[in-house]
C-alpha cells in the first residue's frame, strides 16, 4: 500500500514540476512571436508557422513528464 501511495504522490509532483518549464517556455515564445507580428505584420504567416513548430516541440517536454506520471499512476503496484 505504501508503495502505491508514494507512486501517486510522485506522479502528482512529477507532472506539477514538469509543467513549469514548458509553461514558461511557451509563454515566452508566444510573446516574442506576438511582438514580431506587431513589428512586421506582413511576416505574420511565417511567424505564426514558426510559433506553432516551437509550441509543438516545447509542449513535447511537458508530455514526457505526463508519460512518466501516467506510468507511475497505473503501473506502479
Amino acid at each position: 500500500m505504501e508503495n502505491k501511495a508514494m507512486a501517486l504522490a510522485a506522479a502528482g509532483f512529477c507532472m506539477g514540476v514538469g509543467a513549469l518549464g514548458p509553461g514558461i517556455g511557451i509563454g515566452y515564445l508566444v510573446g516574442k512571436s506576438v511582438e514580431g507580428i506587431a513589428r512586421q505584420p506582413e511576416a505574420s504567416g511565417d511567424i505564426r508557422t514558426t510559433m506553432f513548430i516551437g509550441v509543438g516541440v516545447t509542449e513535447a517536454v511537458a508530455l514526457y513528464a505526463l508519460v512518466v506520471s501516467i506510468l507511475l499512476i497505473f503501473v506502479a503496484k
Binding site: I53, G56, L66, V67
Partner: protein, 282 residues
C-alpha cells in the same frame, strides 16, 4: 476516494489494452506469427488499414477527375499540396532533393492527419453490456495513440535520414559532418558522442511527442466520462452530466486542433532532419 461509486471500477488506461489483442472473428483468433514477428491482426492494425485506404481512396477519387479548371474537391487538395510543397518541404530543402522527398513528406502528413482525426469518430464495435442490459457499444480509438505505431513512423524517418545522408555524403563524410570543423581536436570525440545521442533522442522524441499528445487527449475524454460513473446518485447525474458532456465537447474540439498540429509538426521535423542530413553545411 469516490464514495458510493457505482458502475464498478473504471480505469481509463484499461480502455487501451483492447487495441493490441488479436481479434476474433467467428471463433478464429487472427493470430499470425512469422518467426519472432507478431503479425496478428488487432484493432490498431484495422484502424491503420482504414486510414491507409481512406487516404489512398480519397486521393485516387479526386485525381481521377482532374480537370484544368478544378472542381472544389480538387481545389482543396491542390491547396493542401501547395501548402506542403511551399511551407513544409520548400522551406527546409532546396533544389532537387525537395522534389525527391516531397512525396514522402506529403504522405506522412496526410496519413498521420487522417489517423489522428479518425480517432475522434466513434465506430460501432458490437454489443456491450451494462447492468444486465445489452446495447450497441461505440468506441473511439486513434491508431497513433499507440506507442508501437508512432515508433514505427519515427523509425521510418530515422532510417531514411541516415541512409539518405550516407548516400549523399558518403559514410565518412556524413559522420564527419556531425562535428563542426572549427572545434579543437580534443573536443571532437566529445562533440561526436553528444551529437550521436541527440540523434537517438530525435527518434524517441518524434515518437513520444505524437503518442503522448494523442493519448493525453483520449485519456482526458475518458476521465471526464469516468466522472459520471463516480456520481453518487441519480440527481447529480441529471444535473451534472450536461456539464460533463460540454466539457467533453470542448476537449474534443481542442483535440481536432492538436491532431492537425501534431501531424504538421511530425512532417516538418521529418523534412528538417532529412534535409539537414543531406545538405550538411557545417
Amino acid at each position: 476516494m469516490s464514495s458510493g461509486a457505482e458502475g464498478g471500477g473504471f480505469e481509463p488506461t484499461a480502455e487501451f489494452e483492447h487495441a493490441v489483442k488479436p481479434l476474433t472473428i467467428g471463433g478464429h483468433t487472427l493470430e499470425f506469427h512469422i518467426g519472432p514477428l507478431d503479425l496478428s491482426i488487432s484493432t490498431t492494425v484495422v484502424y491503420l488499414w482504414l486510414a491507409a485506404f481512406l487516404v489512398g481512396g480519397i486521393c485516387y477519387l479526386i485525381a481521377r477527375r482532374a480537370q484544368k479548371v478544378p472542381n472544389r474537391k480538387q481545389m482543396a487538395f491542390e491547396a493542401l499540396y501547395q501548402y506542403v510543397e511551399d511551407n513544409l518541404v520548400g522551406a527546409v530543402m532546396h533544389g532537387k532533393i525537395a522534389a525527391a522527398w516531397f512525396p514522402y513528406i506529403l504522405s506522412l502528413f496526410v496519413f498521420i492527419l487522417f489517423s489522428n482525426l479518425i480517432g475522434l469518430v466513434p465506430f460501432f464495435l458490437g454489443l456491450g453490456e451494462f447492468g444486465g442490459i445489452s446495447f450497441p457499444a461505440f468506441r473511439t480509438y486513434a491508431a497513433t495513440s499507440n506507442i508501437n505505431v508512432t515508433v514505427g513512423l519515427a523509425l521510418l524517418t530515422f532510417l531514411l535520414t541516415h541512409i539518405s545522408g550516407i548516400r549523399a555524403n558518403g559514410p565518412i563524410g556524413y559522420f564527419k559532418g556531425w562535428v563542426p570543423g572549427s572545434a579543437p581536436g580534443v573536443l571532437k570525440p566529445v562533440l561526436f558522442v553528444i551529437h550521436f545521442f541527440s540523434e537517438m533522442f530525435r527518434l524517441l522524441s518524434l515518437a513520444v511527442r505524437l503518442y503522448a499528445n494523442l493519448l493525453a487527449g483520449h485519456i482526458m475524454i475518458l476521465i471526464f466520462y469516468a466522472l459520471i460513473f463516480m456520481l453518487p446518485s441519480v440527481v447529480f447525474l441529471v444535473i451534472l452530466s450536461p456539464l460533463i458532456e460540454a466539457g467533453v465537447f470542448a476537449v474534443s474540439l481542442f483535440e481536432i486542433f492538436v491532431a492537425t498540429i501534431q501531424a504538421y509538426i511530425f512532417a516538418i521535423l521529418s523534412a528538417v532532419y532529412i534535409g539537414g542530413a543531406i545538405q550538411q553545411e557545417h
